[in-house]
Amino acid sequence: MIRRALGGVVPLGAALVAFLFGAIMILALGANPIDGLVAILDGAFGTRERVATTAVRATPLLLVGVGITVAFRARVINIGGEGQIVIGALMATAVALAIPDTPRPLLLPLVLIVGMIGGGIWGSIAGVLKAYASVNEILSTIMLNLVAVQVMNYLLRGPMIDQAELEGSRIPQTERLTDNAALPILVPGTRFHLGIVIAVVAAIVVYVLLWRSPLGFRLRAVGHNPDAARASGISVERSLVTAMAISGSLSGLAGAVLVFGSESLRMVTDGSTAGFTGAAGFNGIVAALFGALHPLWTIPSAFLFGSLLTGANNLQRVLQIPSPLAVALNGIVVVFVVSSGRIRAWIERALDDRAERAERSGGGADPVAAAAGSTSGGGDS
């Protein structure tokens, strides 16, 4: 029991420490941390519009994060979310530009699926390279991010640029895309669009896929012990590619949602990936880690970090604390969460020692700790 609880408590404690860091930073910047917290909460949840904006900001984090859980469960470290978002968005946008007159019931699903295909292809390149050429996926995904950003710059400055921009300031952006591909607004008067619902559904689907399907079993088996998986007849190579394809397609979907859920309804960049993605490819990793690499826990986790992002904007407005604080905090959360595994091990060992000592002293053994000892490794990983 204690052990299972530790699985949740330790990362949560790690996040608390990380946010304590944030409070110290706010203090160092000359503001009251309580005021800071109030400003963040007000910015994220103060009005209906703000709640909706928070949900909109959380959506790409959730989609990327859920994809990350698939990859990491198969022990593939997918750092390529940024590139996969970009390629997915580009392909989806190209379709919307090519056939704008297609009726909405056809075009909207089509662009979303094309976005998934784009991201999936970009992800599976790294998967294939890892499976069949033993190229480290961390490096290949980073390089594919760099390639993707140049492809985006090329297309948005060249073939896909808004014709009006050619005469004007040459901002790398497409024209306003057809309304037939726009994600419908679900709560009038806010930005709360269908993409948010799609992301939550995607998380549930991935949960079912990972824990209730043979494919999910294979992916997790490969992640757990590739040699054992191979010995039991699972194709490790195919599983790696599949994991990256699924992971990439979810990022690609995030890209499509970013474009077709945007207010301006165009794809626009400032020449860097983050200029389009808002670093969702990286922040999604944070959301997934904080969600303990579980698709369902990634849902509240993504909303937490989404609210941090929108809240930080308000923090800047109200207390003049620069909003990049949110990005810095995300980094600290990652560091603390990945470091917490060892702390958990220390606590577990201390518990073991106590149980052992209690046993040796005869009778009075701590039944909870003893039971925990016999069921170690429980949980759903």
Partner: protein
């Protein structure tokens, strides 16, 4: 197109290529030491951003470039201590904790810049130095011997790092704990302290790289490095964990980067097409990774935390 291939243009490209290679080289050489000891640091870019801001701010306040470079290095060292605690004490997953360091560096450097400086303000820049006599050699002199001190330092570090890795006891220990930490440990080498020092050296050099970048530009902005640190990590693989190979990779990146700048400046090809050219190094790196994958071996214990039990 013909316009591009005049000798003087080629010299310009080579010169600016060498200049651009400096930052990659300093960071990648440091990362080479770290990876040789078995520790991957994906957070190089974040460390560079923080150090760059430290150096920039020092240059802005004091106009003392030596002090600025020193501050850059110290920020790197500090981040090195942090990273050593994360990877050696807490034994955290290296790939992911590096992303944490990156995000922290990206956000925190931006935060400090907006809080302290606000608008981009030019700082003092590193002056260009000419090597006596050598700089007078036609063409070659301009390309290779008229640079700022950081560039000369970066290239001078190539043999120094090679010597350190392959000719000193420390280097031998670094390679030993990167290949087979258990064996090194049983021979009485402290895996912890060797890796600790390797991480510090790597981060200090990343810090120097950040300082070199900002002091060459004489300015700072949000995300100044634009992912340069990630490329530096890849260059270590590209260079097969050897300083000379890393140098060739850095030069390749620098020169292709310079070529793209020239193509843009001279509008030889449409602006957007130069974006396509700019992806060449990344594609080339992927190809190199595929080709090298079966041939050169990464340090066997790379990314593997060491524990005695």
């Amino acid at each position: 197109m013909r316009d591009l291939f005049t000798l003087s243009v080629l010299v310009t490209v080579l010169a600016s290529g060498v200049r651009l290679a400096t930052t990659y080289l300093l960071a990648a050489l440091g990362e080479t030491i770290g990876q040789r000891s078995g520790v991957l640091n994906l957070g190089v870019d974040g460390v560079m951003l923080l150090s760059a801001f430290g150096a920039y701010w020092t240059a802005l306040e004091t106009e003392n470039l030596w002090l600025a470079a020193l501050v850059g290095m110290l920020v790197g060292l500090l981040m090195g201590v942090v990273y050593a605690v994360i990877t050696l004490v807490f034994r955290a997953e290296q790939g992911i904790s590096g992303i944490g360091i990156y995000l922290f560096g990206l956000g925190f450097s931006d935060l400090l810049f907006e809080e302290i400086v606000g608008t981009p303000t030019p700082s003092a820049r590193l002056p260009t130095l000419s090597v006596p006599l050598l700089a007078d050699i036609p063409y070659v002199g301009e390309a290779l011997f008229e640079h700022n001190l950081m560039t000369f330092l970066a290239f001078a570090m190539v043999p120094v790092i090679a010597f350190l890795l392959f000719r000193t006891t420390f280097g031998m220990n670094v390679r030993a704990v990167g290949e087979n930490p258990e064996a090194a440990d049983s021979l009485g080498v402290s895996v912890f302290w060797v890796r600790f020092r390797a991480i510090l050296i790597g981060n200090a050099m990343a810090g120097l790289a950040g300082a070199a970048l900002t002091l060459r530009l004489g300015n700072f902005q949000n995300n100044l490095t634009q992912g340069l640190g990630f490329i530096a990590v890849a260059l270590v693989y590209f260079g097969a964990w050897r300083p000379r190979g890393v140098m060739l990779g850095a030069l390749l990146y620098g020169i292709v980067g310079a070529l793209v700048l020239q193509l843009k400046a001279r509008q030889i090809i449409p602006l957007e097409a130069s974006d396509l050219a700019a992806m060449a190094p990344a594609v080339l790196t992927i190809v190199a990774l595929v080709v090298l994958a079966g041939r050169v071996e990464a340090p066997s214990a790379l990314t593997q935390p060491f524990s005695r039990d």
